[in-house]
């Protein structure tokens, strides 16, 4: 590696670590975002108001209902509306879930038969639904094991109203990882280059024999490193603090993050070539980030969007990266399953980065 490249990288890191605002962006933002999202979501999964339809009315069924209130996740109360009108209490918003225990629950449990209980959830609160149904399933199985003394099937059959796709708190951390990587690398790259133009140091650099490509590499590389550091930080906090499961391969996630960086750094470079002040660069990066986040499926599943907007999401590289991060972290997806997204990001990366690099070096020579 050339002296010039090493000099550039060293200088960029000195500047980042000497700038207090920059440090706040790099270290505090991921943690604050995680805590914010993590806790907002976590608070909601307590105190799930649950209507209980107990058609069994035995000691065991009552005991089971009582056991669900342990830990404060559920607030079970006997249902007041008849089962046929169950939906009305959801529509009023006075209930989050309904638990239906069929006749014969106690008897089947004692004879170790096959039992199914019913659970209806208000899917308009997607996080509550996903977490609540999960809790209920585990509680039911734990109860059955405690009573019978061995593992036995106790099925919870659930029916999610209004929103069949339930997003969970676990969906948040992967979303934050994708968002952070996008915003931080794009914004910092654009601003670092524009700052040099603003201050006149870029001109001083351009009279040195540094080649435009060394200059470009030296400007972009430090932010790639910072970006990967950011997501490591987010992942560590997510896994250690929020107990987020990480099913897939971290190595694959980092490799594909590096691939995705080609696009975000390219965007940052591009913004630096069309702006002349840091404020402008910040605004461009911010505007693009909002667009990218909203159409990435972070908050709203893409298939819930109107058809025309679904087409729009295809021009958003973050959409594909979001899929990759969720796939790897939550579903344990491997290289094979993610190939379509990877191809798309390769194309995005090559096109965006090459275009911006050419623009940048034209201006720099």
């Amino acid at each position: 590696m050339s002296e010039a490249f090493r000099g550039l990288v060293r200088k960029e890191f000195i500047q980042v670590f000497r700038d207090r605002n920059m440090l706040r962006i790099v270290f505090a933002v991921p943690i604050i975002q995680l805590l914010l999202f993590g806790y907002v979501v976590k608070l909601e999964v307590k105190n799930i108001r649950t209507d209980v339809y107990d058609f069994d009315q035995t000691r065991l069924s009552r005991e089971f209902v009582n056991s669900t209130s342990a830990g404060g996740y559920f607030l079970p109360t006997p249902a007041e509306t008849p089962l046929l009108n169950l939906e009305s209490s959801f529509q009023r918003g006075s209930r989050d879930m309904a638990l239906i225990i069929p006749d014969g629950f106690g008897k089947e449990l004692e004879s170790r038969g096959n039992i199914t209980i019913g659970l209806v959830a208000d899917g308009s609160d997607a996080n509550m639904t996903a977490i609540g149904t999960g809790y209920m399933t585990r509680m039911a199985q734990k109860y059955a094991r405690d009573v019978v003394g061995m593992r036995m099937p106790l099925n919870v059959k659930y029916n999610v109203l209004y929103n069949p796709e339930a997003e969970s708190v676990y969906f948040m951390v992967p979303g934050i990882v994708a968002t952070l990587l996008t915003m931080v690398t794009m914004m910092l790259t654009a601003m670092a280059i524009v700052r040099e133009r603003e201050s006149g140091t870029l001109e001083q650099l351009l009279v040195t024999p540094i080649s435009p490509y060394t200059l470009l590499a030296g400007k972009v590389f430090p932010f790639a490193i910072l970006g990967l550091f950011e997501i490591s930080l987010a992942l560590v906090v997510g896994v250690l603090w929020f107990d987020i499961p990480f099913v897939g391969s971290p190595l694959l996630l980092f490799a594909l993050s590096a691939l995705y960086l080609l696009t975000t750094l390219g965007m940052g470079l591009f913004f630096s070539t069309v702006t002349s002040t840091q404020q402008q660069a910040m605004f461009f990066a911010w505007f693009f980030s909002v667009f990218a986040i909203l159409t990435s499926g972070f908050f709203t599943p893409i298939f819930n969007m109107p058809q025309w907007l679904q087409y729009v999401t295809y021009i958003n590289p973050m959409r594909f990266f979001m899929n990759i991060v969720r796939g790897i972290m939550m579903k344990g997806a491997g290289l094979m399953e993610l190939l379509p997204d990877i191809y798309t990001l390769v194309i995005f990366g090559l096109v965006v980065f090459t275009f911006s690099a050419v623009r940048f070096s034209k201006r720099a020579s």
Partner: protein, 250 residues
């Protein structure tokens, strides 16, 4: 060594849309010369220097710097010149030493040669007292000395200085020029723009530029005599005013 030209400019122009910032100028600067490139604000001095340093493409005409063609050999030119712009060109959040190391690396120098050269320049330019402070906290005169240090790091043969002493007090200007003199004695060509006529008198030769054209070239004393002026300032004002009057008649 025969005196071969450090800079040649032949009919060089740069237009910005219909505005002719530099309008067909020709000039030759010999090696080891201290050349004062004078002119009013907006006369086209900075544009000319930017073209010579490879920062701006000319519209037409030709030129060489250190014997290299300004169109085709920009890389070689960049290795042989030092450039100090009128803008503050140091990183404000880095210390003087860090600035020097960084620019040294940008010139492809290795760590040990940067260290020894920094020591040498610190001694020569008297930087020791403030070389470890962030440059944003330094007074203009000190920054300018550091900036000169940056432009001298790689031992350039030609130095382009664009108003290096603007905003600097007289004592500092005197020191600054003493250093430039020493450099010239070592054979470095100094190509400098300035608004201070006392500085212009220090130059071996000067040119006076007005509205993109070079109006007069020569040794300061000769020019004063030729135009029967009291001093350089009067010469400068007379020449510029004369031009304006001629323009008004035309």
């Amino acid at each position: 060594m025969t005196e071969r030209p450090a800079v040649t400019i032949d009919n060089l122009s740069r237009h910005f849309d219909s505005f002719k910032a530099v309008d067909g100028i020709s000039l030759e600067v010999t090696s080891g010369e201290t050349f004062g490139f004078l002119g009013a604000n907006g006369a086209g001095k900075t544009t000319t220097i930017r073209m010579l340093c490879g920062l701006l493409a000319p519209t037409s005409g030709s030129g060489t710097v250190a014997g290299f063609d300004i169109y085709r050999q920009a890389e070689e030119i960049k290795k042989s010149i030092g450039y100090m712009s009128q803008k503050f060109s140091l990183y404000p959040d880095l210390t003087g030493k860090e600035n020097l190391s960084f620019y040294g690396a940008a010139y492809g120098m290795n760590g040990s040669s940067i260290a020894s050269r920094t020591e040498e320049l610190a001694e020569r330019l008297d930087l020791h007292d403030f070389i470890d402070r962030p440059t944003r906290s330094l007074p203009v005169g000190w920054r300018q000395r550091l900036a000169l240090g940056v432009s001298l790091l790689h031992r350039p043969r030609i130095l382009f200085l664009d108003e290096p002493t603007s905003g600097v007090d007289p004592v500092f200007r005197r020191k600054f020029w003493k250093i430039l003199y020493e450099l010239a004695e070592e054979g470095v060509t100094v190509f400098v723009t300035t608004h201070y006529m006392d500085e212009a008198e220090y130059c071996g030769r000067i040119s006076i530029m007005h509205q993109g054209k070079i109006v007069e070239v020569g040794q300061p004393f000769e020019l004063i005599q030729k135009h029967r002026a009291e001093n350089l300032e009067e010469l400068f004002i007379n020449l510029i005013n004369g031009r304006e009057a001629a323009n008004a008649e035309a």
